[in-house]
């Protein structure tokens, strides 16, 4: 019986993946149900729109628009796929940021603020250093490092006040978020130091900062534009995946990672064992901040993205908050974050398709994300449920002597990956 328990289903990792998949399925189902309900109670929509909405919620990534007859068509859409990878880039990094802090027992809700500081530093560096003097690739590297550093410094603040003044990090993070929001607006405002970075060339626009491509600085496409023509994808996604792998190694294979996790498991026990808990808390928040800042760098260094500075103090960047969802969905596993990030950005694409093609709007995907986060709050219960079901089935198998416990596993494992296939495939192709 001991050997049987070490089967695929009994492993904790498998259970976590299954729990996440169940969360995703329930989240998508609830989203579809809301679409149906709204369609039923809204006389202006009708059954046709409702059915289109449901199909787009579930398969929006493969939407290829409408055909001549006006009905939705589906198929492989390289533009959508590439855009998904592009949008996944910052999400993977903010997700990593939240995940690393979570492993140290800290809830990094400050990712939006760190992301904003990273944005500001990246834009200032990449636009102020003249590419006629310094070669563009070097400017790219400086701007990227600057963004990460700014995020790290901003992440340090909640870490420091948590470690030395015992202020709840959630609260400190929220305050630093809004301080960052106002600070960034201030930096780019009229009459401020970096006023000259406002985009006055494209006349129709106000309150936008130049794209980094105006200074000739942009992330290399690394051949991805050949695979995904007409999309925004660039080498950033590869860098993000590389960073995720590095974070996996850092957290699981190094002394530092062990110390960080020890602090997360029990701060007092860690100190008793000779690990400096204060140092590790600050360090963990700094790493988390650097990851968020790097996410912002990769997003804005793409060259075709613009920063709308005046919005900053009114609302925090959603990428930061969605990082929480990504991390929780991935059960804070750095490798899982890659897939969770792709899944979240797929939902983003779904939202765009919904807004463009039907009278529904993109906020339904935010509802789906929120439901997934809600479910991941009690992923423990779902895990218990899975192992409970597994055990019951194993008992049933034991009654029939011929049947081995293995056949019990495939139905759940095999049925599960289908909805995640979108995210998984995207990650593999990158």
């Amino acid at each position: 019986m001991k050997e049987n328990r070490s089967g695929l289903l009994a492993r904790d990792g498998t259970k976590s993946v299954l729990a996440s998949l169940i969360s995703i399925i329930i989240g998508m189902a609830v989203g579809a149900v809301i679409v149906v309900l709204v369609g039923l109670f809204n006389p202006g929509m009708g059954l046709k729109t409702m059915w289109e909405g449901v199909r787009l919620v579930l398969f929006g990534l493969f939407s290829t628009g409408r055909d001549a007859a006006g009905s939705l068509t589906f198929g492989f859409n390289p533009t959508n796929m590439g855009d998904m990878l592009f949008r996944a880039t910052p999400l993977i990094l903010t997700g990593l940021s939240v995940a690393v802090a979570y492993k140290t027992g800290l809830f990094n809700i400050g990712a939006p603020g760190q992301y904003l500081m990273g944005t500001a530093a990246t834009l200032i560096l990449s636009l102020s250093i003249p590419t006629s003097v310094v070669p563009a690739p070097l400017v790219w590297v400086i701007a990227f490092a600057g963004g990460a550093l700014a995020g790290a410094l901003w992440g340090c603040i909640p870490g420091l006040v948590k470690a030395f003044l015992n202020i709840n990090e959630v609260l400190a993070c929220i305050m630093t978020n809004w301080i960052a929001a106002n600070l960034v607006t201030w930096i780019f405002d009229n009459g401020s130091l970096f006023e000259n970075l406002q985009n006055h060339v494209e006349n129709t626009k106000t309150a936008y900062i130049y794209k980094t491509s105006f200074n000739g600085v942009e992330t290399s496409k690394m051949g991805l534009d050949v695979i995904f023509p007409n999309s925004q994808v660039n080498g950033g996604i590869l860098i993000a995946i590389l960073i995720a792998v590095l974070m996996y190694i850092l957290m699981n294979k190094t002394t530092l990672g062990y110390e960080l996790k020890a602090c997360g498991a029990n701060r007092h026990a860690a100190r008793y064992a000779g690990i400096s808990d204060k140092r590790n808390i600050v360090l963990s928040m700094a790493i988390a901040g650097a990851l968020s800042g790097a996410g912002a760098s990769l997003y804005y260094l793409a060259g075709n993205t613009e920063f709308y500075w005046i919005s900053a103090y009114q609302s925090l960047p959603a990428t930061g908050f969605n990082g929480i969802a990504v991390a929780l969905l991935a059960v804070c596993n750095p490798i899982g974050v890659i897939f969770a990030g792709c899944f979240m950005s797929m939902l983003d694409i779904v939202g765009l398709q919904l807004t463009n093609l039907t009278s529904y709007n993109e906020y339904i995907t935010d509802v789906i994300i929120a439901i997934i986060v809600y479910l991941s709050a009690f992923s423990l219960v779902i895990k218990l449920f899975i192992s409970g079901g597994g055990r019951r089935r194993r008992k049933a198998a034991a009654v029939k002597p011929a049947a081995s416990p293995e056949p019990a596993a495939p139905p759940e494992g095999g049925g599960g990956p289908a909805p995640d296939g979108d995210g998984g495939k995207g990650g593999d192709q990158a």
């Binding site: 405002d189 509802v367 709050a377």
Partner: protein
């Protein structure tokens, strides 16, 4: 001065009532990080109610006849709706954290993500834009208390007290203050309040004395949800002209800070809320504050950027917390799911 006091009250009262909402949840042992989300949901429910009732034309006659009593009743009904919807929304949090013993921080964050998403989804479908407003008129003409209601003419003076606390105020502000006092007494001077607090300090001991910890925690969170929903609507009514936009500018989180700064005690919270209300008021209207009434707008003439004033509430929170957090004493059992078998 009149302007300053009125504006400060407008910002302080939602903060105060939502911070009290936090107290009811945390004193019963549940961390309610979802205050912001519940506020957003409450604001939306209240505004939607106002919008829908206006659509039916039920109060048009009262409005035309300047029947202030009926209009104030309408406002109270909207407040009640917001509170009820807030309570219902908060059940999601209680269910996850009491029945399923889930991580309360994550549950609260999920609600914070869910509320704006749901609200914006529906606002876009109902109003075809990102803001849901009143169907006709504005909050001032429908709900505001004006001196004409008391027989004063346009140019009559009401005196300092009258012009500060009666003219151009909302009844919602005073209802909230009254509720704050009543609920604080409930928390400290009644059997229910004692039981609620015991569940946040030592639920095992409370259980051994025959108190149903699960029910008490449900009660705490539900009261919390109702108050936060109410606070959200009051915020939308008094500061945003009765419009729902799917956000409350971080007031829910600010209320959490007020609660911690106020050490989970109502009287301290009222003081803290007034302080933050003052800073929020300065941030919102530093260009038009005339402190001693001599026509000089001191704060605007200091030459400090408005961004600094907007940053100030958050900076001050952080600094003040730095000085007080060593002494702060959270309810002992908050955030820990109650497990009967554990000791």
């Amino acid at each position: 001065m009149t302007f300053l006091i009125q504006q400060t009250l407008i910002y302080a009262v939602p903060l105060m009532i939502v911070a009290l909402a936090g107290v009811f949840a945390e004193r019963s042992g549940i961390i309610n990080l979802a205050l912001e989300g519940i506020m957003i949901f409450g604001a939306f429910s209240g505004v939607l109610f106002v919008n829908l009732v206006q659509r039916t034309g039920m109060f048009d006659a009262a409005k035309a006849a300047n029947d202030y009593l009926a209009l104030q009743g309408f406002e109270l009904m909207a407040m009640a709706v917001a509170a009820i919807m807030g309570a219902i929304f908060s059940l999601l949090l209680s269910f996850a954290s009491v029945n399923l013993k889930a991580d309360q921080t994550i549950g609260g964050t999920a609600l914070n993500l869910l509320a704006p998403a749901l609200v914006l989804f529906f606002i876009r479908i109902i109003a075809n834009q990102n803001t849901l407003q009143m169907y006709t008129g504005d909050a001032g003409s429908w709900f505001m208390i004006k001196k004409s209601m008391f027989g004063y003419g346009r140019s009559d003076e009401m005196g300092f007290f009258g012009s500060t606390f009666i003219d151009k105020t909302y009844i919602a502000t005073y209802i909230c203050i009254l509720l704050f006092v009543v609920l604080s007494i409930l928390l400290y001077k009644t059997r229910f309040g004692l039981r609620l607090r015991s569940c946040g300090e030592n639920p095992q001991a409370a259980d051994s004395l025959g108190i149903n910890v699960y029910k008490t925690r449900y009660a705490g969170t539900t009261i919390s949800g109702a108050l936060a929903g109410l606070g959200g609507f009051v915020y939308a009514l008094t500061t945003a002209n009765c419009a729902a936009t799917g956000e409350v500018a971080g007031f829910g989180f600010l209320a959490l800070a007020v609660m911690i700064f106020g050490n989970w005690k109502p009287l301290n919270i009222a003081g803290a809320a007034l302080l933050f209300g003052l800073f929020k008021c300065v941030a919102a209207s530093y260009t038009s504050i005339d402190i001693n009434g001599d026509g000089v707008f001191l704060l605007a003439q200091l030459g400090i950027s408005g961004h600094l004033y907007r940053m100030l509430p958050y900076l001050v929170t952080l600094v003040v917390l730095a000085f007080t957090s060593k002494k702060s004493r959270a309810p002992k059992a908050e955030g820990i799911p109650y497990d009967k078998g554990k000791r």
